[in-house]
């Protein structure tokens, strides 16, 4: 189901219906033509167009902090939500949204997830950021310290003695942890 939404939205860019498009250029130079209501979910884009009077439809807005890969992911999410909104403007179909979101993140690696969190933060899409940070939290829940270090790419700067002391002091917190 989720894939059908994704394909229908990507094909809509070539559909004949005349829709206002906004051009967004990612860090690696690719230009995305995005339907206006979808692009407006990106707060940074919305305020750029609201605050600058001299921008036209031809203006290509550069997004130097967003990679093409992240942009694909972001647009997939925003398009799906726009679709939900269009179909049911009153109340989003919760079950369907949840099913879409679950399928959507399942396909993302940890690195992709982090890249998208950074992009969502930069583009200021609070709903997506909220969702993705929740997903990241779920992925590190009940894991070992080593797993979490690898997940975030954090260097351990404790001496072995310091770490051993901490582990001894809070021994109870190290019980029942999932296998990595």
């Amino acid at each position: 189901m989720s894939s059908s939404i994704a394909s229908s939205s990507s094909s809509s860019s070539s559909s004949s219906k005349k829709e206002k498009k906004i051009s967004l250029k990612t860090s690696d130079g690719e230009v995305f033509e995005v339907e206006e209501p979808v692009a407006m979910q990106l707060e940074i884009v919305r305020s750029f167009f609201a605050d600058n009077e001299d921008v036209t439809e031809q203006t290509v807005m550069p997004l130097p902090n967003v990679s093409t890969a992240a942009m694909h992911g972001i647009l997939e999410y925003c398009r799906a939500h726009e679709e939900f909104r269009r179909r049911m403007p009153e109340a989003a179909p919760e079950e369907e949204v949840r099913a879409f979101e679950a399928g959507y993140v399942d396909r993302k690696s940890n690195e992709e997830l982090k890249e998208m969190i950074l992009a969502a933060n930069y583009l200021n899409i609070s709903k997506l950021l909220d969702f993705l940070t929740g997903v990241a939290a779920k992925r590190i829940e009940n894991k070992s310290v080593e797993y979490v270090r690898a997940f975030f790419g954090v260097e351990n700067d404790f001496t072995p003695e310091e770490e051993a002391n901490l582990r001894r002091e809070y021994e109870w917190a190290f019980e029942g942890v999932d296998e990595d």
């Binding site: 939290a137 009940n142 979490v148 690898a150 975030f152 809070y170 109870w172 029942g176």
Partner: protein, 396 residues
């Protein structure tokens, strides 16, 4: 593997959603995380983000044991059992309240309110409060204490209000000698005496009803103007105030009224009783805080003798009832549906509970595997392994 570092703000946003046990463990990740996780700002962020997680209803089986049962607040499935790992001066504890995962316990019976134990079971931290501004009267046998416990958002502080009655908290005694009041602030870590003109006595032994930055008790006036009202204590100015009740009419033989909080508004549960069974239950809500005319009867339902006591409101929409058939009933206020949710053995005091890191930087650790004897005779007992494992079980 290449890896992307995330800014602190986002890191807090992710870590703030984790259970407390995970966070304590992840303090070992690196020095930066160690500082971040125990930072008071992060502790607040974590509290706010925990609203995304399921909360619990914590019950205290009243007499003869110090065991709490945690139930999932949505389906009342038993989540875990929590045994208090220290003992008090009386046989059992009294649960005076719970705010942000911090339990406020005290001794029971004649020692109620004298010693206060602030315990955060999620991080096994305990702080024992023994002092008083009124050192001499504090230890007098026969004095009676009433306490209130709440969190003051504006100052990010936990406060305890303690009212000391001379003799007892009934009209006769209060008219003879007005009570004395003191307030403890966790941030200041001290008690401060509060002036009061008196003229009232509280009807509840304890309260955690915070609305609009003030604590509330159901109370009565002394003297000629004998009337019930809601006594409030404003955390900001540390002064008492009064809130008038609505004119609730009830056709039962007698009425049992209690103050509560419903969706951040002050509310009143009015039970009309005939004999030991309640006939009807009304819930009044003060829609505009402090405005007497704004009291509205929001819910009313006939209990048809199924219950004899209203325990209170959980989850903002469920009224818990004590049935006359050994059952705990829940009544959905919107649908007015009553259904049994558990055995009577869980009846007793209950509070809403969430995990938190509150008190992390204070108090002392109640280590699970050591037997400690602390000054003042508080025994920190050995925690049962099985109980411990239950508590630490992975969250649903």
């Amino acid at each position: 593997m290449s890896s992307i570092g995330l800014p602190d703000e986002i890191l807090c946003n992710i870590l703030g959603r984790l259970p407390v046990q995970d966070l304590i463990r992840y303090k070992c990740v690196c020095k930066t995380w160690h500082l971040l996780i125990t930072n008071p700002d992060f502790i607040s962020t974590h509290l706010n983000l925990q609203e995304n997680r399921d909360g619990y209803v914590l019950f205290h089986k009243c007499i003869g044991n110090n065991i709490f049962s945690l139930f999932n607040k949505n389906n009342y499935a038993l989540h875990s059992i929590l045994e208090v790992p220290f003992s008090c001066e009386t046989v059992d504890f009294k649960l005076a309240g719970c705010v942000n995962g911090l339990l406020c316990l005290t001794d029971s019976y004649h020692l109620f309110g004298r010693t206060i134990y602030l315990w955060n079971p999620s991080i096994w931290k305990l702080k024992v409060l023994r002092g008083s501004c009124f050192a001499r009267q504090y230890s007098e046998v026969g004095n009676f204490f009433v306490i209130g416990f709440g969190f003051h958002h504006q100052t990010d502080d936990y406060k305890i209000v303690r009212i000391m009655y001379f003799g007892n908290r009934f009209r006769k005694y209060v008219e003879e000698r007005p009570p004395k009041v003191e307030v403890y602030s966790l941030a200041r870590n001290s008690w401060r005496s509060i002036g009061t003109k008196g003229g009232w006595y509280t009807r509840d032994n304890s309260s955690t009803l915070v609305v609009n930055g003030a604590l509330h008790w159901f109370a009565s006036k002394t003297g000629d103007a004998s009337a019930d009202f809601v006594l409030k204590f404003d955390f900001s100015c540390e002064e008492f105030g009064e809130i008038m009740l609505p004119n609730y009419h009830c056709d039962g033989e007698f009425t049992r009224v209690s103050v509560t909080v419903l969706k951040e508004s002050l509310a009143l549960i009015v039970c009309c009783l005939n004999g030991y069974e309640s006939e009807r239950c009304d819930i009044w809500v003060m829609n505009e805080y402090g405005v007497t005319d704004s009291w509205t009867k929001q819910y009313s339902f006939v209990t048809e003798g199924r219950c004899y006591r209203c325990l209170g409101i959980v989850n903002n929409n469920i009224l818990l009832l004590d049935s006359n058939q050994n059952q705990l009933l829940s009544c959905d206020l919107e649908k007015l549906q009553v259904k049994p949710v558990g055995d009577r053995e869980y009846l007793g005091d209950f509070v809403y509970f969430t995990e938190s890191l509150v008190l992390y930087n204070e108090g002392f650790s109640v280590t699970p595997r050591k037997y400690l004897l602390v000054e003042g005779g508080i025994h920190l007992g050995k925690r049962k392994r099985s109980v411990f494992e239950l508590l630490q079980k992975k969250w649903l």
